[in-house]
Amino acid sequence: MDVLYFAWVRERIGIPRETLDSSATTVGELVEELKAREERYAAAFADLSALRVALDQDLSDFDASLEGVREVAFFPPMTGG
């Protein structure tokens, strides 16, 4: 599974993307796994209300299933336009 980070999430974690083997079945479980890895992940995911998640490039939410998902992306609320 590819995991992508954008904006300050990318800056806090220090990399734009990585490929993971994870047994997480939901986005929430994946976040918990990541937070347990290193302090920079714990810092990035400290406040989930300040984060958004996309599964295979569609906006989703933190209790969504990861079944069949190939690309997960985490980022702050968008500020385009």
């Binding site: 904006a7 300050w8 490039q57 569609d58 906006l59 980022f75 609320p77 385009g80 336009g81």
Partner: protein
């Protein structure tokens, strides 16, 4: 529908002219252009617009299709830049064409509201003192409620 995500500047006058010119029997064309504003005080050196290649095009296409389904539109145009932008640079534009002026206006506002909060772009403002990610505004999220 014409959706473009690009780093290069676009020629606003040319795009408005070309979009209007290719419509057939549409009585109303509305355009919105977003321009980089300077910051009060220290002043902004530049803005860096990050995006999510792939998802960006997908999200903008979905927003444009939703607008086409909801209003009586002949056409929709979205151009959005990423990368480095200076004060006064044009960041993006949308265009809508319809037989009815109310449809053209509403659809353009809808496109802008969704594009602000649902297309994966992130702005970072860089001054000589440092840099800061622009925070999403509650009013932009609230603007979606009317649709």
């Amino acid at each position: 529908m014409d959706i473009r995500v690009q780093e290069a500047p676009f020629d606003l006058g040319h795009e408005v002219e070309a979009f209007t010119d290719r419509q057939v029997n549409m009585g109303a064309v509305v355009t919105f252009t977003g321009i980089t504003r300077d910051l009060p005080g220290a002043g902004m050196d530049r803005m860096e617009m990050e995006h999510y290649p792939g998802m960006t095009e997908r999200a903008l296409t979905k927003i444009a299709e939703d607008a086409m389904a909801r209003w009586d539109l002949g056409d929709v145009l979205i151009i959005h830049r990423y990368g480095v932008l200076r004060p006064q640079d044009r960041i993006m534009m949308v265009g809508t064409a319809s037989r009815h002026r109310a449809h053209a206006f509403e659809a353009a506002e809808f496109l802008m509201d969704y594009l602000k909060s649902r297309a994966p772009f992130w702005k970072k403002e860089i001054t000589k003192d440092g840099s800061e990610w622009v925070e999403a505004k509650d009013e932009d999220e609230a603007a979606l409620d009317r649709w």
